[in-house]
Amino acid sequence: MSRFRVSLHIVPRRGLLDPQGKAVADALHTLGFKSVGDVHVGRHLVLEITAATASDAEKDVRAMCERLLANPVTEDFEIAAVSTA
């Protein structure tokens, strides 16, 4: 077994009103960053877990997202990176 560090993003599902993202986009526009389109504010999590392989680690984290870390009704998740811890 090895230790892995898994980082993931959880973001509001596309199409749902994201008032935080909109507020941030508006602030960026006010600052003159006219190139900014939509902004989405979510969460970034880093988990250290023990697993046999990197793909097992990713599979475990995926199950954690489905059961707790992301709300299946309103959020999408994306595993950004798996590395040895």
């Binding site: 008032p19 870390l69 009704v73 309103t74």
Partner: protein, 228 residues
């Protein structure tokens, strides 16, 4: 009739619920600690308002894994009444007792004010003392009350009469809400009709002295139906 009021770490409306039941209605109530493994013989479970587990991750996301919730879900599956108020509504959604989710208010502001509500279905165990179409006043106090579900869930809730309360604006018009809730939804019941979740606080609308007695009917409805 005995009400069981669940106290999670961070619950803050448990005492308001207790006051409503014991001091106003003169019925029995017990506090159930989140680590308890039984409902102490409660006929009705109340999941009260507050900020269980500091709203970490998402409101209600951690509370649903408290030991007591296993018993609450089993009680609901047996047809036992569950009333989820505010944070309790969020917990009920996270626990899968009700469909949908409560997201950050569209305004990004915490709202704390009396709101007007229209009773959309008076034929439930929680609303039988009201009339369909009746306008009620109850306070809301939340930062995450924007009811959200996919279109097919919303259509089904409406088609089956499971939308029980909707926010009403000036002149009792629909289409206004304090939080951007989809279709102005303030409260829904489960498919079996025994779980009600709502963002407004009926337990804080029990006395004319503090603004409204419109919450009394919700508790009397449960007494009429459950005791029968």
């Amino acid at each position: 009739m005995k009400f069981g009021i669940v106290t999670f770490p961070g619950s803050n409306c448990d005492h308001d619920a207790y006051h409503a039941i014991v001091d106003v209605l003169h019925e029995q109530a017990v506090y159930l600690w989140h680590k308890d493994h039984d409902l102490a013989g409660a006929d009705v479970v109340i999941l009260p308002g507050g900020f269980s587990y500091g709203d970490y991750l998402r409101p209600g996301a951690i509370a649903r894994f408290s030991p007591i919730m296993t018993e609450v879900v089993a009680h609901a599956k047996r047809g036992g009444p569950v009333l989820g108020i505010c944070n309790g509504f969020q917990i009920a959604c996270e626990a899968g007792l009700l469909p949908g989710a409560l997201l950050r208010n569209a305004s990004l502001k915490f709202v704390s004010q009396p709101v007007r509500l229209r009773v959309e279905n008076a034929d439930t165990m929680f609303t039988n003392r009201y009339r369909t179409g009746q306008i009620l006043t109850m306070p809301v106090a939340h930062g995450d009350g924007r009811y959200t579900a996919d279109d097919s869930t919303l259509d089904r809730l409406e088609g089956d009469g499971h939308v029980v309360l909707r926010y009403a604006g000036e002149g009792d018009t629909l289409g206004w809400s304090p939080n951007g809730a989809m279709r102005g939804i303030a409260g829904i019941v489960s498919a079996e009709g025994n779980v009600l979740g709502l963002m407004p606080h009926p337990e804080r609308a029990m006395s004319a002295m503090i603004g409204s007695v419109d919450g009394i009917g919700m508790f009397e409805s449960m007494l009429a139906r459950v005791a029968a």
